[in-house]
């Protein structure tokens, strides 16, 4: 059964079909939320909220964009809301919250690599929202600029410009 059939069935209230859709996209939604929030528990909460909202909104999903692109739009809005609430409460994380240890490399190299990863995640998190969204969706999810524009709310050209500006800033800070 293909994705469109699952969407149709889920629209009619088929729980099993909806469950299959969740299973198909949960990794991508979690990944995007976790990259944005750098906190696994919050990312899981957001991912769950995204699918609940998606189920509610299935009737309004017209299929103009890929289902995953539509889910990413919902994810970005939900993750932004959480990040804003955190910021208002003054709970800005300076680390990424991730354990970057790699058991296969020697301790010194491991520590250096963990530092580099933490710094990369932190620099990515400090980009302006649109640049951050464009870079994240391009380098981790391989989305087209048209899809990225739909998600971050701008034109394809503007998504492209945001990506290049973001990469340029990261080049300056990370190399």
């Amino acid at each position: 059964m293909d994705e469109n059939e699952l969407i149709e069935l889920a629209r009619e209230g088929d729980r099993a079909a909806f469950g299959k859709l969740v299973r198909l996209h949960r990794d991508a939604v979690y990944r995007f939320a976790a990259r944005w929030l750098a906190d696994p528990d919050q990312a899981l909460d957001v991912a769950q909220d995204v699918f609940v909202r998606a189920f509610d909104g299935l009737k309004s999903y017209r299929g103009d964009s890929r289902f995953r692109t539509w889910l990413f739009s919902i994810t970005l809005n939900a993750a932004r809301s959480v990040a804003r609430r955190q910021k208002r409460r003054g709970e800005i994380r300076l680390d990424t919250g991730a354990d970057f240890a790699d058991m296969r490399t020697p301790p010194d190299a491991k520590a250096a690599r963990a530092d580099a990863y933490a710094r990369a995640a932190q620099e990515l998190a400090t980009l302006p929202e649109k640049q951050r969204g464009a870079v994240t969706l391009r380098i981790y999810e391989g989305l087209s600029f048209k899809e990225i524009g739909e998600i971050i709310g701008c034109s394809e050209g503007s998504a492209r410009v945001n990506y290049h500006h973001g990469i340029q800033k990261l080049r300056e800070t990370l190399t």
């Binding site: 969740v22 528990d41 899981l44 699918f51 990863y117 380098i139 990506y163 080049r171």
Partner: protein, 168 residues
Amino acid sequence: MTSPEVCTRIGELLPEFLAGRVSEDDDRLVREHLRSCAECRNRANAVSLLQQTPIPSPDPSRWDDFVEGVVEATDEKRHKSGWRRVGWALAVAAAAAIVVLSWVRIAGIGEAENDLDWLARQVAELPAAEAAAWTAGWSAAGFMPAGFDTAGLSEEELQRLGKEVGRT
């Protein structure tokens, strides 16, 4: 060959090049460009570092139950919103009933006729003296419906009217 246009094109291809998902032609194009362009090599290093950066792992117990949790949450939300819809429907119906009744009351539709009918029904059962006293009081207070005339009632009918109203 380096030019701003080529660097832009290479910059867009970098994520897929580093993930090994470009065509042979693009792969060759990127490799050749990176050999001669230090700026793009630095960009490639930055993108590569970001791509290798792991994401924080979710709590395995929450992750294993994720799908079931989402389906349950949607069921719960649907159940709640169903009751909320019923509540709203009842509230709207009650508000509509209040508006209609108020309008009927303000417009006085059927009121005079009903009051007259009601009084006429009581009249037949009241002692004349009591009825006369009561109806005089009502008239003075402006209670008596317009057009109602007790002059035509017999003493016995007036008595019954007064008695009945005295009980209520």
